[in-house]
Symmetry: C2
Subunit: 808 residues, 2 copies
Amino acid sequence: MRFNQFGKVTVSYPQALKELQTIRFLTGVELNKITPNALWLHFLAQASPLAHSQSAKKARLNSLLANEYQTVLEYTTTNTVNAASFYAVALQLLGFEVDEDFDLADVFTALKRLNLAYHPTINSKEDLLLAWYDLLETVGKNGRTLLDNLASAGYFTSFYELAATQKPLFFNGKSLPIFDTSKLISEVVYVESDLDSDHDGRADLLKVEIIRPLDTNNGLKVPALYTASPYNQGTNDQLGKKLTHKVDVKLATKSVTNTSYEEIAYHAPKVGPIEKRPVAGHAQFAEESLERELSYTFNDYMLARGFAAVYAAGIGTKDSDGLRTCGSPAETASTVAVIEWLAGSRKAFTNKTDNIEIKAWWCNGAVAMTGKSYLGTLATAAATSGTPGLKTIISEAAISNWYDYYRDGGLVVAPGGFPGEDADVLIAECFSRKKEAADYLQIKAKFEADLKQVTTDQDRTSGNYNRFWDARNYLKDLHNIKCGIVMVHGLNDWNVKLRNVFNLYKQTENLKLKRKLILHQGQHIYINNFQSLDFSDMMNLWLSHKLYGLDNQAPEILPDVLVQDNTLEGTWHQFADWDGAETELHSLHFDQHQLVAKPNPAAGPASFTDHLPAEAFKRYSQNYHQWQADLLARKAPLTTSSLLFESQPLTTAIYLQGTPRLKLRVAASQDHGLLSFMLVDYGQAKRLGKTPDLLLSKGLNAGYRFREDNLVEFKLKKASPYQLITKGHINLQNRTSLWQNDELKPDTFYDLNVVLQPMFYKLPAGHKLGLIVYSSDMEMTVHANEELNYSLDLAACRLDFDASRIAD
Amino acid sequence: MRFNQFGKVTVSYPQALKELQTIRFLTGVELNKITPNALWLHFLAQASPLAHSQSAKKARLNSLLANEYQTVLEYTTTNTVNAASFYAVALQLLGFEVDEDFDLADVFTALKRLNLAYHPTINSKEDLLLAWYDLLETVGKNGRTLLDNLASAGYFTSFYELAATQKPLFFNGKSLPIFDTSKLISEVVYVESDLDSDHDGRADLLKVEIIRPLDTNNGLKVPALYTASPYNQGTNDQLGKKLTHKVDVKLATKSVTNTSYEEIAYHAPKVGPIEKRPVAGHAQFAEESLERELSYTFNDYMLARGFAAVYAAGIGTKDSDGLRTCGSPAETASTVAVIEWLAGSRKAFTNKTDNIEIKAWWCNGAVAMTGKSYLGTLATAAATSGTPGLKTIISEAAISNWYDYYRDGGLVVAPGGFPGEDADVLIAECFSRKKEAADYLQIKAKFEADLKQVTTDQDRTSGNYNRFWDARNYLKDLHNIKCGIVMVHGLNDWNVKLRNVFNLYKQTENLKLKRKLILHQGQHIYINNFQSLDFSDMMNLWLSHKLYGLDNQAPEILPDVLVQDNTLEGTWHQFADWDGAETELHSLHFDQHQLVAKPNPAAGPASFTDHLPAEAFKRYSQNYHQWQADLLARKAPLTTSSLLFESQPLTTAIYLQGTPRLKLRVAASQDHGLLSFMLVDYGQAKRLGKTPDLLLSKGLNAGYRFREDNLVEFKLKKASPYQLITKGHINLQNRTSLWQNDELKPDTFYDLNVVLQPMFYKLPAGHKLGLIVYSSDMEMTVHANEELNYSLDLAACRLDFDASRIAD
């Protein structure tokens, strides 16, 4: 159990005093007259919002020990509060248990072990006040600050009645949960886009779901956290399953071409203006409310803190017009349209028939986009539009280039966990207009024709980067971005692979944007409910700054690059860059089964055959988890269909950073072929679990009696012998580029460069770095169990990567 | 996907008319003038609570298809509503999807497949009205009735404003969700018991948490659903782990005794009166509120429907007085004290110091107890007190005799999943007074002394039934029960084993109580969030009858014995009894490796040795799941430490019901020994998963914008070769009784009767019934890997069980 706080601001005594007054922690106190003990007892009584009488508050004080032998009340009759007694009580307030979590006789050891900040000496009222201020901002056992936990117990309910003009309130640079979540207003409006993606001659209307504090009805203008989620109106899971492509097919031999990028570059076609609806009237309030939006719990957390939550699923989803697409410019425009409405530059209507306009009059015009995966992807897409209302995006596990999601190296490479999925499958899954029978009846034919075209255009046969994918590459438009970006990605995310965030991070380096990068040890998950990181608090600081314009130094306070340690529980490190100046280049050469420091011109060839006995092939193609585990563990028969090269055990721990690069000389026995690579950490060690452990079911409340979240954390599991670091794939016919098909003569050696997926990995001393070279990837590539032999000319092979030494 | 409704009442036309008026579905309708189509459209518009304008309601109607080609609005211009169009639309309202779930051209086939009730002909307004009434009570895709789903969308929010005197309202015999859950009142009071379990000279005060509708402040009196949960104030998990007993110990040889039951019978000691607190004043409202009670989601569901929820953890838990115990009469008295306060015959105070009395003036005096496991156990315990305020219990996965939880057949037999746990461990885990440092400081010494005594009294050495266990046997007091009982238990629950509910069921047979039994296919779980069963609706019917006194025929309507099918998804059958008159006795004899119809006097002996190679023993004792799987699959080396006897394949399917009984003649090679048994279904078949699948995360709302639950269901998994049916254990020294130690001479044959755990299992035709005889049970018994040989004289062995034939 270890805590890491990055969203906490250090303030001066006058500032602390003022803020404590704001949140009514000094109400009734005459600071110049009160004794330190009395002030302490006053704070503690205030921090008991569930106790409504003096007797009940006294009972609470009687339940807290100030040292091994005395309750707070006993202690204060004979002693004066000092740092030891203050933190003995503080740890109890924070939810830590005597004996189980800390020893009353030595609270400072516990504070250090838990990595909680504290004041080593408390000798005066001023010290006490500052220590109390900081304590309110210190996280407890559930990873939330004491102030957040007091809020969950009802501390701020009396603030609900403040006039709208007095809201929001900030404490320590962050907006406070003073908004009554039992009185949230939910509304549906229909934003009119500039698109006519279903070609019905009318501009597509987009359903938008809004949840906003009641205070907005009384004059408060709030920012909007907007989450664009094509999944939000439901998904067609059976249809998606039906359309999923077969992956036990042969890799195609591609005709040699000399294609240049210009030939496949996407240029937006000129489209005439779409006729807009005439405005027949205006409305202040919507005509539809929501039952339950599919919310992101971080948005719920911010809803209690004075930020509206806005959800839209986009063209082709239930109750919206248009045809579904996947990553196209139309989808970006559909996403941006909602921001434009929120910022006042686009129309919305109360329904699809009456042409009654409704404005986002309750919005202060500042929008942030949030969400993970496809949701974060659309945040990234919207940012590349440069639309002025968008002040920042928190882009989690986001795609930056759809080619890097469904393809790699001239190959069809599935997102991990979803073999056979492709753009057309995702379109069909998200086409939730299908869920409304009457609507589907009239759009069905267009949908099917359009889907057929996508299936053709995505081109699963060649796997090349083409015009379809160029239209879906947000990296081309990064120069348009004007807003700050928080990038969050799991270092074990094989669904949206790391290249997506790496490219977004690297290619915005020189754009003078405020950028923050958080790399965690998860797979494809959210991290706002982790015990070890104050993610919600960090983002509150960021959004209070970006959307409410609060001068809280958020860009300076939040770390630029924050990486979760892969060898320790609950440990996060700050870095200057992903693969920056602190690293040095390492080159390893191939010599038989080894990765060695110097090239061996006599190393000779090594080969393997991408073919398995029929039974093993069937079994592995039905269970790719087992296949990967057995491949990493070097189990037969996978030892004959792959090669492993291992380094010597490391003498010191290093961080592997950025992208590993392979230079290879390779020959295949046929006129087509693909190579796959895994970089592996070999060494017996306890490693973090694949998924976080559940610590506390429903243990986090977004506000007071509002929506609940589970508290989770990655925990070390029993020792295991290896861990996948990263992967890579290439079609041997794409040695020149992703769009040109190179000649591949059987049994002829060719030189090849491969860039693997990026990494940020602590490789401990004593462990070996392993490289597995193989072909068919049961989880990601096509595989037909062909008898296909691959040979490597080891003397001409090399692995380059960047790493920094770790001083332990 | 298959639905089963048992909580639905058939009503007359006048009754339906009246009730539809009550819930405002006929407001503004002149029934004698309106056309059937207009009435239908009116109903549909009313069933769109999220649409607040005529245009929005019209849009909703336009989204529903009445047949393959026409929306409702189009259809009604040319046709008149009939059963086909009514149910085409109905299925959409219920959340089923066209194509994915049903075919618009043939709705009746879908209704039959889904097992949903319907009206085959709708020819008149009366037909339509009755069909609509029934549709409101028909469950949708999420297993909740349409009316419940309308409630979640806000249909009943306008009913919040009804005067308290007009509440509750009932529809179809069940209380309606017309209570504003955003305005629930939460309170803490301290009930004064007649106990002084911590021997401090003062009657133990018990903390009680109350959540009640705001209407109670305005004169409404509501019943209470009371859940007694020793876990509710937190658990000492680290301490519990530390105290868990070692199970890799030798089975003790017991000295021969001639003990009679009278010698070990528990008789309550006479205790002098405990001095009570003087009343210093009275209060109407409590001084403390709650942050978040650890609620049972079924209680949440009923909270929205006008039933208060009451939680108490009992003596020895945080904020209560007393020492923790486990199943003792003191715990029962502590549990009952809360009911007595709710019913008006006991005092409670607002805090522990001021002696200010507070009454449960908001309660109508009718109490039901709810909850699973320890919670259901305390409900059963309270029922045996006969306390008049307790009108019914819904006792789920409950213990009826603590000997049957921690012991069996003269052996320590752990609850499945918790080897080494015992009464003392559970006491320590639930002693949440430890969580409040100051309180713990002063009670610690008494707690530790008391715990030490329990460790002695529970007697892990002999495993016998003794005075300690006799004090914890609720079956002795069943004759005191006055209230109705709903028993719910999982047929795969190896934590609280089936004997507990079987004995409760069988031994209350002649008590003239209203009894209902529900046996599901789960392990140790709740079933109020299943798709296939309307459990919440059934219980609403039951509780509206029992606690509000509504004459709704609940006892007659609800099935007496309801059993979930173990071979089909979502299928529930009604029976007259668990092992009643429909069954016939089957006797199978042992012949080498077979179970045969007739005894073979020449069958000869069979033997096995309870000893494994050291490596296998270590591996299996650390992973009892693998051990059980390998034992059932007959993997070496477990084949030498057990015997399997198999029947011939069954020619017809049968239900195995009640308790299997074994008559054995057995010899052991030492002076101590234990035998274990597994009855097994051998046959390749798809079987239900061990745990239910998640269908819809947060898909169920307890009311409107209130607490959320996941929707789940057991699904058939890929075919497997076997399934455990039931188990049993016996100490060879307990052939006479659970309290007498019999002589056991090595290598001497003794006759032995063993009753295995009860079952209700459909054994399909073609499958074989298997009996595995073994000794050490890695999950449940002690095991020290002794070299201990067991021999069975097969000619004198027999398996008896009761079964009924299934006409497929």
